[in-house]
């Protein structure tokens, strides 16, 4: 078990190293930092009550950029290994395909975690400087929920990267699915109630089987300074997120093990 874990960690280290040595990752990271800093430090119309809107825009930026970073980074990991044939000297070592996929996914998740901490630290500094208060508990919950949601996104994208040949089509599909769930996910059940059979059952099955990533979005609570949720209930949210991540990763490993590389 320890040997498996060490190999997965070694693979994740390479994935992280690749990301921070790639210029595109830096561009997105720096762009988000600059935009968040610029927006957060502006004083629009000399209106003190505008802080809430500024926070909302900053958080939206963080969400959009992190989603892009997570999906684009994850979508190319396995296809680029196959395309550049680096997978062959790698698989000639005592390492399984599942370890390769899990290591790469872990690397992407840890890298987005680093970006997440950078973004939310800036956000916290800006909020504290404007409102002279910082809801630490809720901020931690927001970051953890966001990171768990990214785990679902990354594992789903890895599954897609094994199934779809081109990273671009996988990126588009994953981005569409995630944004679709975020916007429509919670309404699917209501939509189903107004439909006739068998469409109703189909929509209900979709509603109960998709990962509801929208419930990890705690931005509104942070914007309006709500108190933090009880930690036991919050824990269930994280378990729900990790359950879906594990399911997608298992499916990804199964598909990758069956995939013909040559």
């Amino acid at each position: 078990m320890r040997a498996h874990l060490d190999k997965i960690l070694a693979l994740s280290g390479v994935a992280i190293r690749e990301m921070y040595r790639r210029k595109d990752f830096y561009v997105v990271l720096i762009l988000t930092v600059i935009l968040t800093l610029a927006l957060g430090s502006m004083n629009f119309f000399n209106e003190p009550g505008i802080t809430g809107y500024v926070k909302e825009i900053c958080l939206l930026l963080i969400w959009v950029f992190l989603l892009i970073i997570a999906i684009t980074a994850s979508a190319r990991q396995i296809p680029s290994e196959i395309e550049s044939a680096t997978i062959f000297p790698l698989l000639a070592k005592p390492v399984t395909r599942s370890e390769v996929l899990l290591g790469k996914a872990l690397g992407c998740w840890l890298a987005t975690g680093i970006a997440l901490v950078v973004f939310y630290t800036i956000f916290a500094i800006l909020t504290a400087s404007r409102e002279h208060t910082l809801p630490v508990g809720l901020l931690i919950q927001t970051v953890l929920a966001h990171w768990t949601m990214l785990a679902i996104v990354i594992s789903m994208t890895f599954l897609g990267s094994v199934i779809f040949a081109a990273p671009s089509s996988n990126t588009t599909i994953c981005l569409t699915v995630i944004i679709g769930i975020m916007l429509l996910g919670r309404h699917l059940h209501k939509i189903a109630l107004g439909l006739s059979e068998p469409t109703r059952t189909i929509v209900e099955i979709i509603y109960f089987s998709i990962p509801h990533v929208e419930i990890f979005d705690l931005r509104d609570l942070l914007i309006h300074n709500y108190p933090a949720a009880p930690w036991d209930k919050f824990g269930i949210l994280l378990v729900y997120g990790f359950f879906y991540s594990v399911i997608f990763l298992i499916l990804g490993c199964l598909a990758f093990n069956r995939k013909r590389l040559r």
């Binding site: 190999k7 280290g13 190293r17 000297p89 790698l90 000639a92 590389l261």
Partner: protein, 250 residues
């Protein structure tokens, strides 16, 4: 320890036909044994099935029928690759890593303790004469240097069996000589070397035994000297005769 390091038994590999075409048979009922401490040259023209056989030995593809074992372990088992070093034909490495980062990463996959790994990295980089460029990213290397880092990664686990897929491909004469020296050194250390190559002069120099594959079938196999005596010519001419090549007058 089994006497045969590599044992291929009645191996058949078929690739699925694309667009309704019939499946392509890449390897037809190949049986082969490579013994401990041998340098085994695996020869054949392009498309003969050499790389497919190597892919089966490394567990990259599954045989349609038949079996292949390494040190008595089925090649599909990752543990079979614990004692193997593999050099691919082309330079397939993470170009954003430096040479020592790449070797450290591979050493970790073999679960080599850190202090041992550092010693092996130093020794391997010295052997392939890349010590001076150890901290440079591989993307800045010349083709020859990339091939040499490939050789360094192939020996990082001190393997008992080396599988080299056209190790001298694209190398200059000095690079080729260096690879030849390394193969001979590994042989003197009792390692088994299984390599494919089109450089028949070199194969003749370093190999103990050779197998010649053509259109997926094993056409000839034996000790180099015995084949030279049997056909009464050099290995290149033996090769051409075995595959049935007829020279067309220009």
């Amino acid at each position: 320890m089994p006497d045969a390091v590599i044992k291929i038994d009645n191996l058949r590999v078929e690739y699925k036909g694309i667009g309704g075409n019939a499946p392509k048979v890449a390897v037809k009922n190949l049986s082969l044994e490579v013994k401990q401490g041998e340098v085994f040259g695996f020869l054949g023209p392009n498309g003969a099935g050499k790389t497919t056989t190597i892919n089966v030995l490394l567990g990259f593809i599954e045989p349609t029928s038949g079996s292949a074992t390494i040190f008595g372990v089925d090649t599909r088992e990752p543990i079979a690759r614990n004692r193997i070093g593999y050099l691919p034909e082309l330079t397939y490495y993470y170009k954003f890593l430096t040479a020592e980062e790449l070797l450290r990463f591979y050493a970790r996959l073999f679960q080599i303790p850190k202090d041992v790994a550092e010693k092996r990295i130093n020794a391997a980089l010295k052997l392939v004469e890349l010590d001076h460029a150890r901290s440079r990213q591989i993307k800045t290397y010349s083709k020859g240097m990339q091939q040499r880092i490939g050789l360094a990664q192939a020996i990082i686990n001190d393997p008992d069996l080396l599988i080299l897929d056209e190790p001298t491909s694209g190398l200059d004469p000095i690079g080729k000589m260096k690879v030849r020296q390394i193969i001979q050194r590994l042989k003197s250390e009792g390692k088994t070397v299984f390599f494919s190559s089109h450089e028949l002069g070199e194969v003749e120099t370093v190999s103990d035994r050779v197998a010649i594959l053509h259109e997926g079938k094993l056409k000839e196999e034996g000790k180099v000297q015995e084949l030279l005596n049997k056909y009464n010519c050099n290995l290149e001419q033996v090769f051409l005769k075995v595959i049935g090549y007829e020279e067309i007058p220009v």
